[in-house]
């Protein structure tokens, strides 16, 4: 592509991209710190990933390969729309394969396939402030971040244990980044928290409505908060994926009928398809095949 063709590339004008890139650079320089930025109106409603889309638009180039997931799936409304958006405004290559993508925009999940150096994971973040529902004053939470006063975060975990006997928070589980800032990893299940720790890929977080960008650079410590006698644990599942038989992945529950029938399947559809292609068969896939024959 010529230089002219990449001018005002990918929906945003050059000034806006420059502003967002500056915010991203600052965010990478201070891991976990929420950098304010002048979030723009995007052609989609708030809550649909306006922050993530702006970050992606600011970093994407003609050579990039984009993957978009929503709840781990490539084929849900939000993912399809955002993928189509970038195909239209940037004409970039898109893929559903995690390992082929250079930029992955996500809403709730980190792909099961281990991310490699050079890949960028862009999160769509609804509420960037981990202290939001504990301390209502934004001026105060900023001060708490600045002075590293995070006792309140543990008050929340204490309450969980006091009422439920264990830390019952399952998503947006607070983490400490590089030993300094407490960060909300957006609504990802806590199952994915360990994947953030010393990840080889760059992780960028964009919150459009809240006008914040934050980042976790590659190979950065990301530690989930916990108590000594109530350590952090990820979710476990009784059964493996009903389609591909994977046991160490995050599963979605799918209701099959109104008689209590349900199945558990991979939330990461790409990973599930890949495993099935390689001959892995889950409990509920086999009879379906026979029926087809």
């Amino acid at each position: 592509m010529t230089d002219l063709a990449t001018y005002n590339f990918a929906y945003l004008d050059e000034q806006t991209k420059r502003m967002i890139r500056r915010a991203i650079l600052k965010a990478i320089a201070i891991p976990g710190y929420q950098v304010p930025f002048a979030s723009r109106e995007m052609p989609m409603p708030y809550g649909w990933g306006t922050g993530g889309v702006q970050v992606t638009a600011a970093i994407i180039g003609p050579e990039d390969v984009l993957k978009v997931i929503d709840q781990g799936a490539d084929d849900t409304t939000n993912a399809v729309s955002i993928r189509a958006f970038f195909q239209k405004v940037a004409n970039v290559a898109v893929t559903t394969h995690t390992k082929d993508a250079t930029i992955i925009q996500t809403r709730h999940r980190i792909p099961e396939h281990k991310l490699a150096e050079g890949q960028i994971l862009v999160y769509q973040v609804p509420i960037p402030e981990p202290l939001r529902f504990l301390e209502p004053r934004e001026t105060e939470t900023r001060k708490m971040h600045a002075l590293e006063e995070y006792g309140l975060m543990h008050v929340k975990l204490y309450e969980d244990i006091a009422h439920n006997g264990r830390i019952s928070k399952t998503y947006a589980y607070p983490v400490k980044v590089a030993g300094r800032y407490v960060m909300d990893p957006s609504p990802t299940p806590k199952f994915d928290n360990p994947k953030m720790h010393r990840s080889e890929a760059l992780q960028l977080f964009g919150a459009g409505r809240e006008k914040r960008i934050y980042a976790v650079p590659p190979y950065t410590d990301v530690v989930s908060l916990d108590f000594e006698d109530h350590p952090f644990e990820i979710q476990t599942f009784d059964k493996p994926c009903a389609l591909c038989g994977a046991g160490d992945v995050y599963l979605d529950e799918v209701v099959l009928d109104d008689k209590g029938g349900r199945m558990f399947v991979c939330s990461d559809t790409d990973n599930c398809e890949d495993r099935r292609e390689h001959g892995h068969v889950g409990a509920m896939l086999a009879p379906a095949k026979e029926a087809a024959e």
Binding site: E149, L152, V155, Y158, D229
Partner: protein, 258 residues
Amino acid sequence: MTDTPLLKVSGVSKFYGSRIGCKDVSFDLWPGEVLAIVGESGSGKTTLLNCLSTRLMPTAGSVEYRMRDGNFRDLYHMSEAERRFLMRTDWGFVHQNPADGLRMTVSAGANVGERLMAVGDRHYGKIRETASDWLTRVEIGTDRIDDQPRAFSGGMRQRLQIARNLVTGPRLVFMDEPTGGLDVSVQARLLDLVRGLVNDLGLSAIVVTHDLAVARLLSHRMMVMKDGHVIEHGLTDRVLDDPREPYTQLLVSSILQV
């Protein structure tokens, strides 16, 4: 008592524009001593207390505090981080309205434990043990540990607020009308409790009150304020039994006798 004061206040003044909040207040507070600041409403008691506890920046003057290492530090020249650390470890602040000092939406146990977690305590079992110990000390049943303060009566909330402040073993506690808004029998129990705790822990305290009976029961020394000025200062019994200033005499004679 040792021979060095805990807090040295000199020439603290606070002006709200041309209006006087408090003017030229100086005194020393000694370890284990309870000082009462009395006066009618609008006399500058709370302004002074807020200046001393660094919740408000005074227009002039300095307050020096003897840190645990024995060195005096000027409070108004400390960094905000240091000041806030001091406020949640070595100091306590008991508000008149417990809702201002408590987190109303988290349980009593977490309210007491918050300061412990803020200074880095990360063992749930130990935090809970300390919390229930403190609830017992302020006469709240340990079966209420998981209840939110909004389910508590006014007196219980005030006692919970005191426990929350004392859990880190502070050396200096500020109290702003600690018994305001409580009925007399609850007031009496609370005063009894505070007096016991102050004695047991060797706390220093600065108590702002308009209730002379509270000053009589709790304090060793008292200051009488009027229109932002300290007009009389002395041992509590001396001031109350032998008031010298006309205003203090008026104040003492206005106590309702039943």
